[in-house]
Symmetry: C2
Subunit: 319 residues, 2 copies
Amino acid sequence: MIKRDIFLGVDLGGTNIVLAGVISTGEIIKRLNISTPYPALPKKVVEAIVAGVKTLTMDLSGWKIRGLGIGCAGDIDYQKGMVRFSPNLGWRNFYLTRELAKKISLPILMDNDANVAALGAYFLEGKKKIKNLVCITLGTGVGGGLIFNGRLYRGATGSAGEIGHLTLAANGLLCKCGNNGCLERYVGAVYLKKTIQQRLKTKEGKKSILLDWLKDKSVQLSLRLLSKAAEQGDKLALQIWRDVGENLGVVVAGIVNLLNPEMIVFSGGVSQAQKFFLPTLKTVLCRRAFNAPVKAAKIVITKHSQDLGVVGAALLAAE
Amino acid sequence: MIKRDIFLGVDLGGTNIVLAGVISTGEIIKRLNISTPYPALPKKVVEAIVAGVKTLTMDLSGWKIRGLGIGCAGDIDYQKGMVRFSPNLGWRNFYLTRELAKKISLPILMDNDANVAALGAYFLEGKKKIKNLVCITLGTGVGGGLIFNGRLYRGATGSAGEIGHLTLAANGLLCKCGNNGCLERYVGAVYLKKTIQQRLKTKEGKKSILLDWLKDKSVQLSLRLLSKAAEQGDKLALQIWRDVGENLGVVVAGIVNLLNPEMIVFSGGVSQAQKFFLPTLKTVLCRRAFNAPVKAAKIVITKHSQDLGVVGAALLAAE
């Protein structure tokens, strides 16, 4: 019997490690979720990944495993398979793929979470029918990954795709990166929560249902709460989501004019509030960017946010 | 005797047509400048190009001519070899390569001026030793072209590279494209001249030496005049050039964060005032963009502005 090819992906996060066997279409055949060891000592994490890979390998005995790919948040040296810096794991200059290679006899590759997500989006949303795709991850921060001519684009030093740090307003608010007016400073979840708190103190904010809810000390301010308020027609909440759409629209218009991609995929927690920000984003995009590239660029809010990382990681090995 | 390969390039402008024989290193072996027929009737222009190619071919009898490439300002359909719209020539939907192919038996390709300039920069400045380059043309408007992984990147519909229409300030001045705050609206020569005129009316402007010079009706306001004033220490002129540097710096920082190129090449008339804007550009770039990609990105003001188009056009055929 001829065994079909399969690739193993590892989505390595500070809280969870997701492993999966993925075929070349991007379809997940088998998945395994484990907790990231705490504290995340490199040795313990390596052991956990090795054990997970063994479990998965046994489950995939009918398949020919061709390689292992890892996606990791942080500053990753793709060439060297090294985690230069990962705030989530507390690692610096750790040669993860080399350590794994001592115990796993497969080709092993690693890239950062935004790049593997873009690759995942290319397979799961682009279905490999398109050539150029931009993936924008809306979460705590704002990340991005670029697919050009059907391949992951990393740039000169592997740091391409920092969409969160495109400038929205040259004289805008100071971002923690040192630049003023970064997109992330306006729509990253951490900053967005600060914005909500500030606007709750304004005249407009005093009328918001959010203030009532937050009187209950067990209720925490979150973007989910913001969406809940918007759902109930709260004016402040609706306006804040529209502002998110406006700010995303400005940057997406720039990306469309500059890169003329066939598809722009949004993933991550914040993207799930699409109902409240997407109409504004699209209006702003159409007004600001050129017609032909706007028409060519399909805007997609992925339903596969949870899978992009592990699928893209697996398919690093297939690249 | 074995003949060496050579490629013919045509830089087709509203005033002049530059033709050249170019070898694969980007070196020009033979060059020919002719005037664009006036009015630029398609038939007349085709005849002029055909005649130019014949002349050049005779001069290059020792070479094996492998192809012909054309660079043309305007909206160009690369796939079809069609000029969709060229304001300079007054053409719409003209199949230029098809008409030329009736009289010239060479493979013929055509792309827009910004794309061929980027390709020219890739050979003349990048020397093919790098993989990723961004070319920014500072002239009447602001154009751009992208080289990724050693190849011209065109995007989904061939309109990639519109660097002039990246947003500098979301609520900035209205650009003729309909967007607010485009880079071109601030540093394109046409708009820049308007800015100078406005600032000459301010308190600061009243002290400028430019006002004295412009009293002479034979003197026209130009960016060359602005540089001349800056040369003499004129405060307004120096400040306007610093503003150009600041505005370019914001957008270049975004490009560095997003695309992480090895090289950014500036070409075009305005770029020759580098002495007055480049220091500010670099300061702003360093402050706004991430360290690693800034270090990796070499900023070059090309001395080959006049050649990029014809060299890139020729090497379209070599791609």
